[in-house]
Symmetry: C2
Subunit: 223 residues, 2 copies
């Protein structure tokens, strides 16, 4: 027989995985709307956003209830404080999906600027980071979590590369400016999703190893 608190913790894990899967799907759909030039996919993102927002409130309430009724200890307590933060990260990933969907709808009004290769690639990387961060979270797996943190650099590099390429388009042809700007902002939104996934992974490492790796590699001031 299971204790009531164990059942509640199990339900919390399930809700967070569901929330992560909604967020991941939204990012995928928002980028796919752009690639296959289908605004209906972007509109699905707006609907999922509602669902994500409701689930965020339900998860916060569940965390509060477990804390209030069961006064959990040690690892459960740490898991719940992490769940509160992860929940916010997931909701903000949903916001980024909406931002991408809005930009996609704008971009679909004009002919494509260039073949889209980097953005779907970034989206794939970012979706996988998110999925792995949540897997690491529910299984308490610091090895996967560390791998997620490492992959954040790949996304940053792709974002920088795309930024430079699109700046060149802008300088060569002023008619490209609006579309290139939208693509730059989409790339930034994806880079932010990777940051959220990295935040989740850092929390996992903290939870598992009782050790905080956040801020151990503080950014160097540029020369």
């Amino acid at each position: 027989m299971h204790r009531r608190v164990d059942i509640e913790m199990q339900e919390l894990r399930r809700d967070l995985l569901h929330m992560a899967s909604l967020a991941e799907t939204s990012i995928g759909k928002a980028v796919r709307a752009l690639v296959v030039r289908d605004s209906r996919l972007a509109e699905e993102v707006f609907r999922t956003e509602d669902e994500i927002n409701k689930l965020e409130l339900a998860i916060d309430d569940r965390c509060l209830r477990i804390l209030a009724l069961h006064a959990p200890e040690a690892s459960d307590l740490r898991f719940i404080t992490m769940a509160l933060k992860t929940n916010s990260d997931l909701e903000r990933i949903g916001d980024q999906a909406v931002n991408i969907a809005e930009r996609a709808i704008e971009l679909l009004k004009e002919p494509p600027l260039k073949p889209l290769i980097d953005i779907p690639r970034m989206a794939e990387l970012v979706q996988r980071m998110l999925k792995d961060a949540l897997d690491a979270f529910v299984h308490g797996d610091a090895v996967i979590a560390r791998d997620v943190c490492r992959r954040d650099d790949q996304v940053d590099e792709l974002d920088d590369q795309l930024f430079r390429e699109l700046m060149t388009y802008m300088m060569q042809d002023s008619r490209a400016i609006t579309r290139a700007m939208s693509l730059i902002l989409i790339s930034r939104h994806l880079e932010r999703v990777a940051d959220h996934a990295t935040n989740i992974a850092e929390e996992v490492i903290y939870m598992v190893q009782g050790k905080n790796i956040k801020h151990h590699a503080a950014p160097e001031p540029p020369d």
Copy 2:
């Protein structure tokens, strides 16, 4: 005589206010570096970032300790769950200050593109939102918190206005593109700080009124 938990809660409030004040000062310095064209101010932002990162860890630890040792109830419990989220928001505001400082250093290598009026104005609005969100938080004042949420729209409008203006600069003169892009990204960073302040204010309203205003005005899908 005060109970131990009351003293710990008081110290938690004090730490969060200190963290908010560091974040607010960082934003101010990063923007001032740009306005008075002094890169030393930008470098101060990098140093404060370290302090903010350390304080974030200390605040999380304090929250965990209070939860573990005192199993606080009702309003204290809600305050702590909120403190965990607010703490993350404040740390990410520190990150935005670093982003602005990095862009400022880049911009100082070139002559100014235009007189800077909107960006310092946005920075002022955003710093005040942050200050008020934290005041609302420590005093449990939902009236101030609601006012912070309303002011987010003003910041969004300024950001949109500046975006359009800078896009015009880009289209008129390709030599303006790099600098205009940097200013657009700085404006976006400030807009994100306003979002974080709004998140904090929304949590305050939830805490005070036991009612969640988040997501009650979900974004409308664009036409």
